[in-house]
Symmetry: C2
Amino acid sequence: MDEIAEAAEKLKLLGDKTRLTILCLLKDREWCVCELVDVLSISQPGISQHMRKLKSHGIVNESRRGQWVYYSLRIQDKPYIQAVLDYMPGTAGTLSLLNKKEPGQCCN
Amino acid sequence: MDEIAEAAEKLKLLGDKTRLTILCLLKDREWCVCELVDVLSISQPGISQHMRKLKSHGIVNESRRGQWVYYSLRIQDKPYIQAVLDYMPGTAGTLSLLNKKEPGQCCN
DNA sequence: ATATCATATAATTATATGCTTATATACTTT
DNA sequence: AAAGTATATAAGCATATAATTATATGATAT
């Protein structure tokens, strides 16, 4: 697959409101699935499926700790994704767009 | 629509191989529809529909001159789109990915 | 006016996408 | 081992998307 096709595939992943929101939340810290469920208006399997796509394209890291699964950004080697996220709100700004507070203690 | 939703909508436009290729071709000069048809493996109505989407989101300018319609980038005010395209090939590199030469004199 | 060329729109179709509910897997605690 | 909690997978459905073909619009030239 050529350079353009590969970039298009990644950009398509960013081109979904829910996924882009997740990536914005991940800008400042890792999040576990239960926290994302708390904050986004979508079911747990919905979150899970989005994370699988992001993971399969190498955009997030997965880390199982105890019964929880934490996701974090993995975009050091993906400059144009970094560039996009640089122009997007971080955790706090995204939460306020969602009219949500930092999720409580669902995982610890 | 909030900031994230709006960005997602624009990124979705970039997340299609054909459209992203068109934007890469437009990096260095304007192109008319007939040239794009020459170079991309897609029908003329296909091109037309992609250009309409790009135009309706303000990503390209349209300029009718004679019987031809020329499109050019309009991304000065869209920094993250600029950033993405900065990492993508320009006209020449894109043509070589497509195994095509500069289109001949279809419009003049 | 008519013919020709360039582009746009409409209608259709096949496929992809995002979501939901139901169920399975994995880990932890008792 | 059994129950409880967190996450993942599967199946199904509704909508969106990108392509095609057919047709309409618009501009130019004879």
